[in-house]
Amino acid sequence: MTLPLDGIRVVDLSRVFAMPYCGAYLADLGAEVIKVETHHNQFVDTTRTLNGPYPDNEPGELYWERAGTFHTLNHGKLSVTLDLRSADALDVLRQLVSVSDVVLENFTPRVMRRFGLDYPNLKAVKPDLIMVSNTGYGHSGPWTDFGAMATALEPTHGTGAFTGYLDVDGDGRTSPGTAPNKIANSYTDFLASWTAQLATLASLIHRARTGQGMWIDLAMYQVGTSFMGEGLLDFAFNGRRTRRIGNRHETRSPHGCYPCQGKDQWVVIAVRDDDDWQALCAGLEMPELAGDPRFTDPVERHGNQDELDAIISSWTSARSKYEVMKALQEVGAPAGPVLDGRDLWRDPHFRDRGYFEAVEHPPETELGRQEYVSRGWRMSGNDVRIGKPAPMLGEDNQWVLSGILGLSGTEIAELEAADAVGQRLAGAGTPSAVPLDRQVELGWTVDYDTDYRGRRSP
């Protein structure tokens, strides 16, 4: 079985979320993706050590091999450890780049120049190299040397101008919100990851036609702004700076998020037109609403949506979110449950489509068989899937150093003796996991199931 990126080698120098995830997707597409990391704790990818979650919330002795978020972001890759503070290791990395096609990195511009790993230097060893340099603000412009994290970048690139609850006054009347909010989930990281994948694949097509490489200067701030196009043009044409209307819609109603039976259970309902409205009234089994003069047309409904929302909420509150979905979808009205992590994990639709993909982890990790989120698309001509779990630290040192680069046993031993290469994380103590009861108290975790394994779908 062939895959689109068979024969393509990717050197992945990146850390945290955006670029590691890009590398994992390229691996699913068939590329040989080599994650270059280090066994020195202060420079290791922090998703190995800081994010967890660990099986049953127990880090274990080999905790850096056991973090669920790391495994989600790095599946399908090989791992080689090279401490770039060593000149010899740096030289090995240059050799690796010279026999690779793509480099992914997300260091600050300053760091890459200091190591001599910036694009001009790497292009010298691999003239048709495709390289993605992912930073907060890009390699030019007044903010170029500013560091960044997705969680702080997200409102900086404008999501908060358009995300926010409605304000509610003492009489329950609503008005556009004054406070911004976040989409959360490190939203910008994923926009950057999808953007990097597209730019890399387009550049591979370009290289195949012209023989030319590409440097992709990917500024997460700029990428995020490119997803706010509608909002920016509304300012350019109309001078509007912001528009926070909670879960409502500018012209359609009802349109919102309604409470359901149970703790923190919600359903959304979104009426597009009069047909949907008629369907909704039928689904709610309230035919009298369809004829109610307060709600007859979109303008009336929009003007009276506080009242309408109260009627709908009282109906949804007595039902489960899935019941509401079924009752309304059956009559063709757009409605859907707000799925949490558990719901998603068990949802029959995601399961039916084989969305979660399983891999068997090496016995040392004691992770066994685990399933991970995959991707939003399937190809008819390829069995694109998570081919192997994320690597253990330095798992492929031998293959990369000897098999690909032809280093002798003596040379490898010298790198190990200099502590530039290693397979066991050095310089850290086992992290302590915050107990789940405490997490519930802090509000990080809503609830937990002790029997979650039994609840897993087959």
Partner: protein, 397 residues
Amino acid sequence: MAGILSGIRALEFGGHVSAPFCAKLLADYGADVIKVEPPAGGDEARRMGPFVGDDPHPDKSIPFLYLNTNKRGITLNPSTTAGAGLLAELLDEADVVVENFPPDEKPAPALEIESLTRTYPNLVVASITPFGQTGPYRNYAATDIVAVAMSGLMYHSGDSDREPLRNVLNQSFYVAGINAAVATAAALFQRMTTGRGQSIDVSTVECLASHLVQAVPYYSYMGAIKGRRPVRGSGFEELMPARDGYVIPSVQGSQPWATVADLIGVPELHDERFASGSGRIEYGEEIYDLLVKGLAEWDRKALHQASGERRLVFGMAQDAGDLHDCPHLRERDFFRSVNHPVAGEADYPGLGPKLSGMEYEVYRPAPLLGQHNREIYEDELGRSAGELAQLRALGAI
């Protein structure tokens, strides 16, 4: 300099956001994209607000103007006999079809996925729907908020003591659009060696669910349900009020606590108890009050600048005007001035990344309905002006 996908021809069917955004990205990278709209009314995005000058004119829809730059536009009704003939000729010359019709509602038999891939084996067909082409929800009705809810993303957005909060500006369909472009580019690259095309089934909810790299393993690894932003906490990594708006103070990055405390400028923050992550959890409410006090003395942009200079990673809430006038984006040459014959001139946001081997250009504003009928049907497909008039009379274009 031409775009790097030049010479690749894509046909776009459907409308609204997801397929147009996918095709816009292909066009922005240089592909020759022909947007095919129904003769009666065109793309439904033409009726989506906001509108330029709040005038609900089909050529003044702001989403439409943004989503359709660099494309040519034609009208075609493929369910008429004459339209079906034109469609076949267009497909003969196409490398890519991007469409977002509901799975069981293709407007013509020739646009069924099976039929396309069978008749045109070298064609790449990307089909974008809310839930995908298979599975129990495949025919469910969905809008952006429904997709965001059912992807799991929305549950984690907003405050824990309120209802989950929708993501904005049709984000779900933008994310689906770029994912479709990724898979399309992979298929085009593969086609260079195999000569064969294939179909791509894009599910919007699955694209967004792939963002949940924390919430899903929270459950699969330890049975825990990750929630929304806790109401109580130190205020770091959250939106906090400053003097002229909101900022995000951050302890992320590699700088010591003293640097953070110095920047905020409240002496009481220089406290060993606050220097560790666990300390900031334990004394969260105390820190929150000090942060509120310190941040009230700062303007957003000055704080962001000072943070960057100290190698901290604070953020700020910027509105559309801030972004439009942002000196950093301007210096990076992000915007392109685009003049549309009906909507007028404005600065449009450009491409996310900067590519060393490609100059990004907007060489066409969004097309008027049927603007390129003559160019495509007469100049490229060889119809005469008389034949075009006849096609128009038959409702084919």
